[in-house]
Each structure stands twice: as C-alpha cells, then as structure tokens.
C-alpha cells in the first residue's frame, strides 16, 4: 500500500506542477460564478413575476432544474478531469518512455495502477462533491431552495467519476492516450444519450426506449448514479411541479433500486481488476 501511496503522490505532484489543478480551479470558479449569476437572475425574475399557473411551485421548479443542470455540468467536469488524469496511464506513458523506469522497480504493476487510481480518485471525487455543495449553497442563497437530498446526488457524482477513472485506466492498458480519451468520452456521451432517451421513453410511455436506457445506464453505472442523483434532488417535490421537473432534461425520472450502489462498486472494482490483469500481461 505504501508503494501505491508513493505513486499516487508522484501523480498528484505532477498534476500540481503541470498546473492542471490550478486551471481546473480557475475554470470551476468561472463555472460557479456563471451558475450564481444564472441562479440569482432566475429567482429574481420569479420574484418579479405574478406567479403564472397557480398549481406550479415555480421556485421548486427553477431550483430543481438549476441544480439538475449543475449536476450535469459537474459530472461533465469531473469526467473531463478523470479522463485527463488517467488517459495515458499505461500505454501512453509507456510510449513516451515514462513508465518503464517505474515498472522495473520492485513495485508490482497492480500497485502502480492502484497508485494512479488512488491519485485520480482523490482529486476527482472530492472535486465533484465540493462543486456540487457549492452549487447547492448558491441555489439556497439565491432562491431559498433546498433539494430533497444532498447526500445521494453527491455520493452518486463521487462514485460516478471514480467509475470513470476505473474504465479510463482499463482503456489506458489497451489503447494509446488519444484513442483512450476519445473512447471514454464517447462512452460518456452514450450514457448521457441513453439517459435522455429513457426520459423520452418515460414521457411517451415507450417501453422499448425505457428498457434500452435502463440497460445502458446499468452497463455504464455513472449514468445510473447520475440519474438516481437527479431523482433524489427533486424526489420531495410533489404534484404537477414534481411531474414537470422530472420530465425535464435535468430531472431524474427514474429511481434506481437499492442494488445500484453495490453494483456500481462491484463494476468499478471489476474494471480495476481487468485493468490490472491487462497491465500484467502487457509487454513494455
């Protein structure tokens, strides 16, 4: 374990020295600034309006939709970070000659991989949780809106990006850095598209779409975790408002079963195990 910590420390030092974390920090501040501007503008305009339809809680609708949008953006930022921290971990670094001096040391290849997993997870998971909490705080200050759950979406985001780290590490043992990055982003896009199709299927009551979406979401559990988090955000909003917010692009229509969490953990562990197996068999 101590060797994995040494490797993780090396990877984190690289992220700091290469100013990856600085750039991410600055862009995140910009994102939160824009989010705050949007949230205050939306809630101010609601304040000024005469209420519209009586049956709709427009504050809950706006708050739920804004936080859903924030979750989408945060997941995207977290995935970008996860992919860029790991896309060249094995083949990319081997092609550049960075990996060989480390692999010949008496550190197991699995330990090297564990170090990279640890480093990327230690950056990405706290990152998405912190940005999500900041978005929740902004939404509360701007519109006095508190989501139905904070823990479930935050934990879902965290486990979701860790699962992306795992699949990206597996990809890095099979593909060069560029090809791996493209593959992971396409997988991410496929998951999101499947989620949207599922919502369309729900709205139009098309079982085939809903089933296909559900299968894809579980095959790439970051999507199922994201949808579950979206659902938890607005689960306590009832009536017409609840229906509208959950049908929207940033509303979670589906409530995952209790099996999602162990499944996502097992899936992530399986990806790491496959990555370790693939790395062990690879000639460098």
């Amino acid at each position: 374990m101590s060797d994995a910590v040494v490797i993780a420390g090396h990877a984190l030092r690289e992220a700091v020295r290469r100013r990856v974390l600085l750039v991410v920090g600055l862009l995140t501040v910009a994102f939160l600034g824009l989010y705050a501007l949007a949230a205050f503008q939306v809630f101010d305009s609601l304040e000024a309006s005469d209420g519209g339809f009586i049956a709709i809680d427009d504050r809950a609708l706006a708050g739920g939709t804004l936080l859903g949008l924030a979750m989408f953006a945060i997941l995207f930022l977290g995935v970008v970070l996860a992919v860029f921290l790991t896309l060249g971990a094995v083949r990319g670094d081997a092609e550049r000659g960075l990996l060989q001096p480390l692999v010949v040391r008496p550190v197991g290849r699995t330990t090297l991989l564990a170090g990279r997993l640890l480093a990327a997870s230690a950056v990405c998971a706290p990152y998405v949780v912190a940005v999500f909490l900041a978005a929740v705080a902004i939404t509360r200050v701007a519109g006095d809106f508190t989501p139905g759950s904070i823990v479930v979406p935050a934990a879902g985001l965290a486990l979701g990006v860790v699962s992306v780290v795992a699949i990206s590490l597996l990809g890095s043992t099979l593909l060069g850095a560029t090809a791996n990055g493209i593959a992971i982003f396409m997988l991410f896009g496929t998951g999101l598209a499947a989620g949207l199709l599922g919502q369309i299927g729900d709205a139009l009551d098309v079982d085939a779409l809903t089933t296909a979406s559900s299968i894809i979401s579980w095959a790439v559990p970051f999507e199922a975790l994201y949808e579950n988090g979206l659902h938890a955000l607005t689960a306590d909003i009832g009536g017409v408002t609840g229906v509208i917010v959950q049908l929207g692009p940033f509303g979670g229509a589906s409530d995952a079963s209790a099996a999602l969490w162990p499944w996502a953990l097992a899936w992530t562990a399986a990806m790491v195990a496959l990555a370790a197996l693939s790395f062990r068999r690879r000639d460098l």
Partner: protein, 284 residues
C-alpha cells in the same frame, strides 16, 4: 564462473515471439558478478528484447532468465536490477533530485540525500540536483538516467545505449563509472552500437543477430591478428601474415641486411572487423 557464485544474470534458451516475428530464438547468456559484458548486434537483432526480459518489462515466450538467482521479473530480481532504457524519459516538471528520491523510495533505499548527491557527482551532475529535467540537455538527462539506474546498489546494471547522447567527456565519465562498478562486483550488460566503447571497457562481448548469439568471447579473442608493420629507413613495410612471435626474427633479418629499424607495430584487427565478420558474414 566458479561454482557457488551467483551470476548477476543468467539466461537459458530464451525465446520471444511477437506474433509472426521471432525476436529471440534460444539465447543463452551469462553475466558474472563484476563482469562487464557488451551486447552487440544490428538493429532488430533482439538486443533490447533480451535486456527487457532481464528487467521484467517483457515476458519470454520460452526459456528462463534469472537476476542474482531470482527469476527475472520477480520483485527480488527487480530489486537487484538497475536499468536504463534506450528510449526513456523522466517527467519534465521534476527536479533531478526528485527523480532520484522517487526511485529511492521505490527500491526502499535508505541512502537519502547523501546517496543522491554521490550519484549525481558520479555521473558528472554535481550541483544540478535542483535543476528541472525539462531544462536539461539530452546528455544531462542520460547522465541522470544512469544515476537513477545505480540507486539502491543493484547487483546487475542493464544499460541500453547509455552513451548515445553523450559527448566524448561524458563517454569517458561513463567508462570510468563502468570500471568502478566492476570493482564493486556489479555485473553490467552494456547494449551499445559504439563498438569502440565496448572494446575499451568490456571484459566480454556477445554478438547477437536475428535473435541468436552468433559469437562471444573476450574482445582480444574475437579480433583477428592483422600482421606486422615495421618502420625502416626504406619506409614502412607491411607484413600481413606475420605474427607477434615473428617480430624478433624479422628485425634481426632487417638489421643483418643493413636496414635501420625505427619502430615495429603488431597490428590487431578491430572489434568492428570481428563484428562485421560475425554479422555481415552470416548474410553471405
């Protein structure tokens, strides 16, 4: 090698295939403790594959290799090995002493700052510990690579083209360093295209072609005699078939003829001649 003395490197019947390509086709090789062995051969002969099997980067298709008695690739073997790859790179953001400190931690060296400073001085980088890798010339990076390979007092040092980027002074430094390793009882396998370097410093030379050892021996054993040159008052006479033992008789005969003799040189063939005879000769 005397019985009971553990070889720094021992390889028996090593074969390696990459798909349809045979990189090694039954190589036997030994490097004794305190022995400097030069590994020569044309591009694609299998030299780098042999070195990579020894340090655990590549798995053999058949045969076995051991480093200091431990199976090549095992943690014990890697702990006893220092390796400089032909195409290696250290992170540009890292300082020289950070590179060495990382490798110290991975081999659990307790040498600390004293070991780092001593190694940097040994490779001619004294006082450059704070320098970042990205600001170093290729030659300086190669010196740093050699210093990295010597961390933790390895029993076998594998150097793949260690002087390719070095100027003549740098090559001299490396030659002195190799002689020092021999005195410490470290076995060295030196893979190089610089035949003059190998001839100057190596105890034994192994020539590999098309995945097989085509000849091996001490440099002077491999080089063929090239006759005798005698500088006389009539000019330089070349006797291509004469040998060292013939010199006194030749000189006596010349003096008896009234010819003044100013100098005699026994001409030996070069390692280059031996190499070309072994490699090009096989091509017919």
């Amino acid at each position: 090698m005397s019985p009971g003395v553990t070889l720094a490197l021992s390889a028996r019947g090593l074969r390696k295939r990459y798909g349809a390509t045979t990189a090694l086709d039954g190589v036997d090789l030994e490097v004794g403790a305190g022995e400097l062995v030069g590994l020569l051969g044309p591009n694609g002969a299998g030299k780098s594959t042999l070195v990579k099997i020894a340090c655990g980067l590549v798995r053999p298709t058949a045969g076995e290799a051991a480093v200091a008695g431990a199976p090549a690739g095992s943690a014990a073997a890697r702990a006893a090995t220092g390796y400089l790859a032909e195409l290696f790179r250290f992170p540009g953001w890292a300082r020289a002493e950070e590179v060495l400190a990382l490798h110290q931690r991975l081999v659990r060296s307790r040498g600390g700052a004293a070991e780092r400073e001593a190694l940097l001085e040994r490779v001619g980088l004294a006082g450059e510990g704070r320098r970042r890798v990205e600001t170093m010339s290729k030659g300086m990076q190669q010196r740093l690579g050699i210093a990295q390979a010597l961390i933790g007092e390895p029993r076998l040092v594998l150097l793949d083209e260690p002087t390719s980027a070095l100027d003549p002074a740098g090559r001299r430094t490396v030659r002195d360093l190799l002689v020092g390793l021999r005195e410490q009882g470290v076995g060295v396998l030196l893979n190089s295209h610089l035949l003059s370097e190998v001839e100057l410093v190596c105890d034994r030379v192994v020539i590999v072609d098309r995945g097989r050892v085509v000849t091996q021996g001490r440099p002077h054993e491999l080089t063929a005699p090239g006759g005798v040159e005698i500088e006389t008052s009539d000019g330089v006479r070349r006797l291509p078939d004469a040998r060292r033992e013939d010199v006194p008789g030749i000189v006596r005969a010349l003096v008896a003829e009234g010819v003044d003799v100013y100098g005699v040189r026994v001409v030996n063939g070069t390692l280059e001649d031996a190499y070309l005879a072994a490699v090009v000769g096989r091509d017919g």
